[in-house]
Every structure is written in C-alpha cells, then in structure tokens.
Amino acid sequence: MSKPVDDKNKHMFDDPKNIKRVIHALYAVCGVSLLLDLVVHRHVDHPWERLFGFYCLYGFAACVILVLVAKELRKVLMRPEDYYDK
C-alpha cells in the first residue's frame, strides 16, 4: 500500500511510473517473504503449515477463487439498481 501525497496539481498516481513502482515493490516483498520460508524455521500447529510457501499459495489461490466464484454469482444475484424500488 502506498502513502498518498497531495501536492498542488500533479498527483502521485497521475504518473503511471509511480503505479509501476508500487506494483514492483509488491512483487519484491512477495518474493522476499516466499524466500524467507526457506530460511526461517517456522513453528507449526498443523502439518499443512509445514509445506513450503503454504501461506503464499493459499492466500493467492483463495483470492483468485473468491473473485472468480463471486463473478459467477453475479449472474444469479445481480439486479438493476432500482430493483427493489419498483
């Protein structure tokens, strides 16, 4: 997440380069946190946790599944904005 900076007229994310920077920083922390899994000897409460990159994979997969399923749900659940006003 980035910190917003409000200067006179030119704003931080008006420059696509800054958006790129944020995304690259995210890639970097993702990579580092994954690699730390090799170094840090984690305490585990459950055998699944011991798998390399378990939390990384789970977090990524959970969000992708969440969004794709929710998108499908739209087909069933979505109605026009004034649906209940009619």
Partner: protein, 564 residues
C-alpha cells in the same frame, strides 16, 4: 461500587439534556458524557448492585465482572468517537437517539438477569431506528421499518424464551445457559438474529448502509457486539457456534466482492468479522474466548474507523457507490490515510490491531481439532483483506479518477478518525493493555517470527492476486446494481406471494359468488315458473272444474266399490 451509578442512566439523562439544549452547550454535554461515564466505571468493584425485586424475581441492573467491564469501557470509547465524529450534525433527533442507543447497549451489557436484558434489547431497537430514519430518504424509511420489525421480533423471541426458560429452571439469571430445552433454543435464536447469523443477517446489510453518515458508525459499534457479549455469556463452548461462525466468516465475502455500495461492502465485512467472534465463542477455550472478546474490541474501533472514512466521503461527495467514486486521495488525503490504517487493521497486518486478536481464534481452532474450520477462517482472512483491505480504499480513493474534487472531511471527523487510527495502531503494536482487560489470563504471544511471516505472506500474496486479476482484466468491475440476498424472500417473494394469494382468494370468492347467484336465480326461475303470475300452481281454477273433478273422484270411488 456503592458510589457508582448504573452506566446506562448517565447516557439516558444526557439524552434528555441533549434534547433540550443546543449549540455549544449540547456539544459540551455530549463530549462530557462518555468521559464522566468512564470515570464512573473506574470506581466500580466486581459484584452486583441496583437490584429491584419484582414479584418473585430479582432484576439486577448492574453486574460487574471482567467481561462486562471490558465491553463497558469499549462502549464508552465507541460512544466518544462516534460523538466526536457527529459534532457537526445539527439534527437534534440523531444526537438524542445516539446517546440513548449507547445507553441501551450499556444497559444490556450490565444486565444481571434475562428480563433486564430483554428490556434493553428492545430499547436498542427503538433508539437505533432513528439513526436510519434520520437519513430522510424513502429507501431509508422502508429499510428502517424492516430493521425495526426484525429487531423487535428478536426481542419477542427472547422474551418467549426467557419465560419458558424461567418456567422450567426457575431462574432468570443471565449466565451460562447452553442449548437444552425449548426456552434455551429460543434465547439462542434471539441472540443469533442480533449476531446476524446466516439467513437471519439481512436486517444488517439492508439497513446499515441506508443510515446517516454518522449514524452507521454508531450502529456498527453496538447492536452486534451486545449480541456477541450475550453469546459469550450464555453459550460459550456450544459446538454449533463453531460452524455457524465459520459460515459467517466465509459467505459474506463473496457478496462483498460484487457489491457496489461501499458501506454495504463494510456491512458484509462486519458479518464476516463477527463470524470470527462467534466461532471463538463456539470453541470455548480460554484462548478462544479471549480471542473473540479482544477481536470484538478491535473490530468496534477499526470497523467504526472504516465506516467513518466512508461516512466522510458520503458527506462530502453525496455518493457511496464504487462505480461513482475514485481518485479521492487527491481531495481527501487525510481520510485516505486513515482509511488505509483501518484497512490494515481489519486485514490483520502486523502492528495493526486485527493481528493481535483474530489469530487467537485461529490458533484455538487448530488446538481444539478443527482443521477444516481453520482453513475456512484462513480463507476468510485472505478474503477480508481482499474486499475490505484493498477494495474499499482502492475504489473510493484510487482506481480511475472520477473527477470529483471536494473538500477534506470536517475537522471533527478528522479528529475522530485520527483517534481511532491511533487506537488501532496502539492495540496492534502494544496489545498488553488490551490483553490485561480480557476475561481470562493471556498466555499468548502474537509477535512470533512464524506468525509475522505467515500472516505477511498470506496478505502480500492476496494483494498479488488482486493486482494480477486487475492487470488481466479478470476483476469484476464496479457496476451500478443491487445483489439479491435472503432479504429477497421478504422484499419480493413475500409481497408477490401475498398478491398471488389475494388474487387467488379474490378469484375464488368471485367464483363462489357467481355460483351462488346462478343457483339462486335458477331456483328463482323454477319457482317463478310454478308460482309466478303465469305459473301452473298460481292460476285460479273455476268452480265448475272443481265440481267436475269431484264428480270424477266420486265416480272412481263408486267403481272401486262396485268391483271389489
């Protein structure tokens, strides 16, 4: 103890005072109330007081122990933040309702018996509905009526349960009840409605987003947390709650992802967070209850903060749909920053408040042998970051520039948001003050290398998924729309069924009427033919024919006699 006043009284009296004063005096009274109330709490010792004997039962207005004190302080804090946030509001009704609502929540928390709990349970509904009505729109009015009806009904169910429970056990004590007879199930159901159990949850997602910008902040703090408190008191260790809680943590996030109204997104995520608490209460170990209660504390502050930031946006722009907003970081940088603190807290980033409380419930789930529930909660943790942690700040303040340029939020709003943000960071970075207030001694260390690393991995890769989906164009865009939920059953199905039944009965009645009329007119026609002016039976007969027929009869008689 004896020198203290029942906390709800302070708020009720000040609600009256706020009703008859105005301007700076009212503001001063309102700001003083939570402070005076908190000082009042300071002097309390454990025990019960304020008892009133009514028929065979003793009503207790003040039961003081660690659990009620934690919620007591929490509600004073939440009331203070909510009051600061709403100081700019001129509407007298909202201020009076807000104070009375906070007082009712305190009354319920300190209730020592189920009858007193019921009284304040209904007062919560009665006082809070004005915060929704005050919005003044047709939509809000209708949502308020639905909200009020369901809330009052939950009170009726509670009362029925209490009566049956008292009849079978002879006790109205507001202590551990556990699932047993019909009475306890009804009490459980009533608590469940206010907890927003799945299928019973739509009063919350329906009404909260329709309340005033400041009203929603108060609403999000009290009603559901009173229910969590009641659950923790009466049904800890109830296995069913583990599964209900896991469901509550899971299902709302799907709705949140596709919801356009950002305050409704937060309403769904409120249910998701209460799910963690309900699950912890169901697990019922000291660690789990501590987790549930401390998460309730943190949730009131960070969810309040998130509702404040969205309230500020609504107040300044008049818009709340993700499809209409975007780019507001340029106009409201402070609000943006506070929103990000709230987002980080609800997502449980290390150093932010959610990190030190939610994980207690998750560790307890594993320790008590619920690995599948643990996976569900982990899924919900990733999901909550996705919809509340990223979606809310992203679509309101970043995303595409909507072109809206407005003023930064009013100063009182900024102060309230700033204070909330400070509490979020303080509790997250230095949890031991919060831990010392919990009902059980805390034997839990949140800041282990493993916990910090795994939680960071979960969140970073969730963010990565968001970026990936956005860049690939797979992320569902914000669309002007509504999504149907179980409230569809009483907002569409029930009215449609009523109309259908009315039409059907109408048709039946008409058919019966037609048939009856037909039958009568048929009978009438028949009788008329026989008895009418032209009818056979109505025609007059001449005397001659009478004599003739008499002669015929006599002749017949003669012949019969003659031959026999």
């Amino acid at each position: 103890m004896t020198s203290s006043v029942a906390p709800f009284l302070i708020f009720y009296i000040s609600a009256v005072l706020a009703g008859v004063t105005g301007g700076r005096l009212r503001a001063a009274i309102m700001l003083a109330v939570p402070v005076v109330g908190a000082l009042n709490l300071w002097g309390m010792a454990d025990g019960t007081a304020g008892q009133l004997v009514l028929l065979d039962y003793t009503l207790t207005f003040m039961r003081v122990d660690k659990l009620s004190m934690l919620f007591g302080y929490l509600f004073h804090l939440a009331a203070f933040l909510g009051i600061v946030f709403s100081l700019h509001v001129k509407d007298r009704i909202q201020h009076v309702a807000g104070l009375a609502y906070a007082g009712s929540a305190l009354g319920a928390i300190y209730a020592g018996d189920l009858v007193t709990l019921f009284l304040f349970w209904e007062m919560l509904a009665l006082t809070s509905v004005f915060l929704i009505l005050a919005r003044g729109t047709e939509r809000a009015t209708q949502a308020a009526m639905r909200y009020f009806l369901i809330q009052v009904l939950s009170g009726v169910v509670l009362l029925a349960g209490v009566i049956i429970h008292a009849g079978t056990t002879g006790s109205i004590a507001f202590d551990f009840i556990g699932l047993g007879g019909v009475g306890s199930w009804l009490i459980f159901l009533a608590f469940g409605v206010k907890c927003a159990f799945p299928v019973l949850h739509t009063w919350l997602t329906d009404a909260y987003p329709e309340a005033t910008p400041t009203g929603t902040v108060l609403l999000s703090a009290f009603t559901t947390k009173v229910a969590v408190y009641a659950m923790a008191r009466s049904f800890p260790g109830t296995d069913l709650l583990v599964y209900i809680g896991a469901t509550m943590a899971m299902f709302p996030i799907f709705f949140a992802v596709i919801e356009n109204d950002l305050r409704r997104v937060l309403a769904y995520s409120l249910i998701n967070q209460v799910g963690f608490m309900v699950c912890g209460i169901g697990i019922g170990t000291a660690l789990a209850i501590n987790g549930a209660v401390s998460h309730a504390f943190n949730d009131v502050i960070f969810k309040g903060l998130l509702f404040m930031t969205m309230g500020a946006v609504l107040y300044r722009t008049g818009k709340m749909n993700g499809s209409d907003l975007g780019g507001l970081y340029k106009s409201m940088p402070w609000t943006t920053g506070f929103c990000i603190v709230g987002a980080a807290s609800i997502s449980a980033f290390p150093l932010f408040s959610g990190f030190v409380s939610k994980s207690m419930v998750m560790v307890a789930a594993l320790q008590e042998g619920h690995p599948v529930v643990w996976l569900c909660l982990l899924f919900a943790s990733a999901g909550v970051f996705h919809h509340a942690g990223i979606k809310i700040p992203y679509f309101a303040f970043f995303a595409h520039d909507s072109g809206i340029r407005c003023k930064e939020a009013p100063r009182n709003m900024l102060i309230a948001m700033g204070l909330s943000a400070v509490i979020c960071i303080f509790n997250g970075s230095y949890p031991w003050v919060l831990y010392s207030m919990l009902p059980f001694p805390v034997d839990y260390e949140p800041y282990t290398v493993a916990h910090v690393l795994t939680q960071s991995q979960l969140l970073f890769f969730s963010a990565l998924a968001f970026v990936w989906l956005q860049l690939r164009g797979l992320y569902p865009p914000e669309l002007p729309s509504v999504n149907i939920d179980t409230d569809w059953s009483y907002r569409k199905l029930l009215p449609a069924a009523a109309i259908a039944i009315r039409t059907l009965t109408g048709n039946l009645a008409a058919a019966t009427r037609d048939w009856t009329v037909d039958a009568f007119s048929f009978a009438h026609r028949k009788i008329y033919r026989l008895h009418g002016p032209e009818g056979v039976l109505a025609s007059s007969w001449p005397t001659g024919s009478m004599a003739f027929w008499t002669a015929v009869l006599l002749l017949g008689y003669l012949l019969v006699n003659y031959f026999s």
